[in-house]
């Protein structure tokens, strides 16, 4: 090693492995389809003229909703598997360091950064604490709630005795009745829509204003740091 050369800090870390990146974009697509078709199932498009046999609009809408839902579910299960076999950053979606005090103090710091009260954000290789909290609550817990309520509603058409009914039919009397499950599933959609808005905005903003790369990381997998300071 040559002397006199300043010790260069690591400026790039491989964070998101390929399967995680593929999952992210597939998930983004399925959520988009689910939200649009879901909204249109609850609030159908204007009536179509002609014979009933000329159209299959609601049928198709429901088909795309169910197809996207299965993609979302398979992705979710795969993501759990990857949390087990993947790198340490892949666990973050399923673990929240609830008892670690620094997590909460850093969370406050992050909130202050968004409130323009801090001059500079901290550097994070994985999620920052605020993002981490949101990911766990909305994507993991929220996603699970949507899967469970969604499969319970799906079991209504697959019928008594189907696997959806055997596994998730109990949800309907547990929540109240079918209409209640529908409404909670619908509320869930809006929660996720609002989350997506915040997620896209903060990702762009962080990419510009924070000290690390965000959007390109979800494409290439590499987290680039813009400075060498700690």
């Amino acid at each position: 090693m040559l002397t006199g050369v300043p010790t260069v800090k690591q400026t790039a870390v491989y964070v998101y492995q390929t399967p995680v990146r593929i999952w992210h974009w597939v998930n983004a697509l399925s959520i988009t389809i689910l939200a649009i078709t879901g909204y249109l199932i609850a609030n159908p498009l204007p009536t179509l003229p002609g014979e009933a046999s000329d159209h299959y609009l609601m049928g198709n809408m429901r088909f795309f909703h169910f197809a996207a839902a299965y993609v979302f579910i398979v992705g979710f299960i795969f993501r759990i598997y990857w949390a087990i076999v993947g790198n340490s950053y892949s666990h973050q979606l399923f673990t929240l360091p609830f008892w670690r005090r620094s997590f909460w103090s850093e969370l406050v710091h992050e909130l202050r950064w968004y409130a323009f009260l801090e001059k500079e954000p901290r550097k994070y290789v994985g999620h920052n604490p605020l993002a981490h909290l949101f990911m766990v609550v909305i994507i993991t817990v929220g996603g699970l709630v949507m899967i469970v309520t969604g499969l319970a509603l799906y079991s209504e058409q697959t019928g008594l005795g189907s696997w959806q009914d055997e596994l998730f039919g109990w949800v309907i009397p547990f929540v109240g009745q079918s209409q209640d499950v529908r409404m909670w599933h619908h509320w869930g959609m809006w929660v996720i829509v609002v989350f997506v808005m915040l997620h896209v905005y903060t990702a762009i903003r962080e990419d510009i204003m924070s000290r690390q790369s965000l959007i390109s990381t979800m494409i290439s997998g590499w987290r680039m740091f813009k400075d060498d300071r700690p």
């Binding site: 159908p44 159209h55 609601m58 809408m61 009745q177 209409q179 409404m183 509320w187 808005m197």
Partner: protein, 365 residues
Amino acid sequence: MAMTETFYEVMRRQGITRRSFLKFCSLTATALGLEPAFAGKIAEAMETKPRTPVLWLHGLECTCCSESFIRSAHPLASDVVLSMISLDYDDVIMASAGHQAEAILTEIREKYKGNYILAVEGNPPLNQDGMSCIIGGRPFVEQLKEVAADCKAVISWGSCASWGCVQAAHPNPTQAVPVHEVITDKPIIKVPGCPPIAEVMTGVITYMLTFDRIPELDRQGRPKMFYGQRIHDKCYRRPHFDAGQFVEDWDDEGARKGYCLYKMGCKGPTTYNACSTVRWNNGVSFPIQSGHGCIGCSEDGFWDKGSFYDHVTNTHVFGIEANADKVGIAAAGTVGAAVTAHAAVSAIQRIKQRAGEHHEENDKT
């Protein structure tokens, strides 16, 4: 119980011909979805089995279940079934009254201990020691508990007995509760609906007497054969739903053409009942066929689930009524505006910072 008459004997005594009796047996077998051979089995059961006494109690209710039951439009069924089930006590339609009537309850309880069916229409209110419903000078809840103690099984007629219905709707001043919250040690068959369909009522009771067992029930205690599917699953307007053809207004072209009533708040997709197959009044019609959406009367707490005329109904949480779409759109709009404002402030901040850094650099040189 050697002295007990069989169903057949009772029917013959009441002037029903053997021919009518056999017709009834085959029709019942068909109604229950059984193969032809079962007509003979039903006939045999009725000829040989002693009548099972049914005690029919009335709690807090409107008697619409009885009104429905006595209109069982099945040919002969109204006459035959009423004799057949050996309805030993039903304070609404029985001839005897007063102490004479109440004595029957005690008599049946002792004579047929563990062998009679208890049918309950309505439900017991628990507030003020049950004072909101008095039968024979005593709170209904006491009568219910006493009679239920020795019964074989309980049939909860209608949404009152099954779920609570209108008297249990918010704020439920009398604290009316469904039967299964008071009687916990007996099998309970829920036959919800406001009222239940007449043929569903007679079908359930015939099944229990014929096979001497309770019908197969779903998770919530309803007979699968009548409550296994939703109105929506068997609705004759379903093709219009799948096509995306809806009634948008009560007097529009779609309403005249008989399009799907989903947008008018039809609860067919969330309601488990047999209306779209068995229909009402001798199979003449049912709400959707007459142009009005299903209000979901056989579902738990249907009075408190928002408007009958909205598909996206209000959700009641913490005493606040809110519509998911309205709140969702408002929230998305607010967040959108907040994000835009935040982005603007961020940009200004950054320009300022840049300018500051520029100054510093200029100062250094």
